[in-house]
Subunit: 162 residues, 2 copies
């Protein structure tokens, strides 16, 4: 792997780490309350299992990015990291997709199922969640790019040997 | 690539094709209706954008699996197929995750958001959706295995050359 490639991968991992940490912080601090028919209605991320899954995956991704940041990517270890990168990309992809599905219901509701949109009542909560999902989406895209880069490198490495 | 590897990949693609087609058929035929307060309440997959996305991704995956089934996986084409396999795995992963998030709300509801579970009213619909998600999950897992196999082969191919 050339030095330029190594720097690109290092930077992608660093950016992905930043995006995941941002996603966690923005999601965890999301909070809003509304008065509906005299009752206080409180919105927080922990009320939705999907958002908890999202935070969990991003904590895992942050820890993983931080640990792997300084690992060498040679030989067997390089292969193991590549497989772990694939799994991490799938987990990030899964968590962001699940959250987007729930966010869509929160924003638009689903009249057929009788689920009303909630963003009109708790706009601050929805804005926070939207910000967090943008950061999570960025982390997911960065991991996909990282995967393409690592993959390209591994193939080239073996091509060069040949 | 040895003949055994080629057969394994062929079979994985064939199984993934079957799983995707099953997921589409079961989802599209899901239908149930219930009487709530004298009004007829009809449940079908097309009422939920996430389920439409799921069907769309599985149609794409079926078409892709069918086309690639008979392609040779050598040289540049092999690389392009590997990248397309990664993208297809991510799309299947994304669609099944989004559907699971919605299905969880359909089954358990979310009392904090005031979204009531609907599976008590339309059990036949929920059973169909559950069946479809199992098939979709199988397709997703099969594509992940396929990815690991192709990846392993490509690496070995280049190792052998070296």
């Amino acid at each position: 792997m050339t030095l330029a490639n190594r720097i690109i991968i290092f930077l992608l991992r660093l950016l992905a780490l930043g995006a995941s940490v941002a996603a966690i912080v923005i999601m965890v601090t999301s909070h809003d309350s509304a008065q509906v028919l005299g009752m206080t209605f409180e919105a927080k991320f922990a009320n939705t299992p999907t958002f908890k899954y999202f935070v969990g995956v991003n904590i895992l991704a942050s820890a993983y990015s931080l640990i792997v940041l300084f690992f060498p990517t040679k030989n067997l270890l390089g292969r193991i990291i590549l497989i772990s990168d694939i799994i991490m990309t799938l987990l990030l992809d899964s968590s962001i997709s699940a959250c987007l599905a729930i966010a869509q219901v929160g924003k638009k509701g689903n009249s057929h199922a009788g689920w009303l949109p909630i963003c009109g009542q708790v706009p601050k909560f929805c804005d926070h969640v939207a910000g967090s999902l943008i950061a999570g989406f960025a982390a997911s895209i960065l991991y996909f790019l990282l995967l393409l880069c690592s993959f390209h490198n591994v193939l080239n490495l073996y091509s060069l040997k040949a």
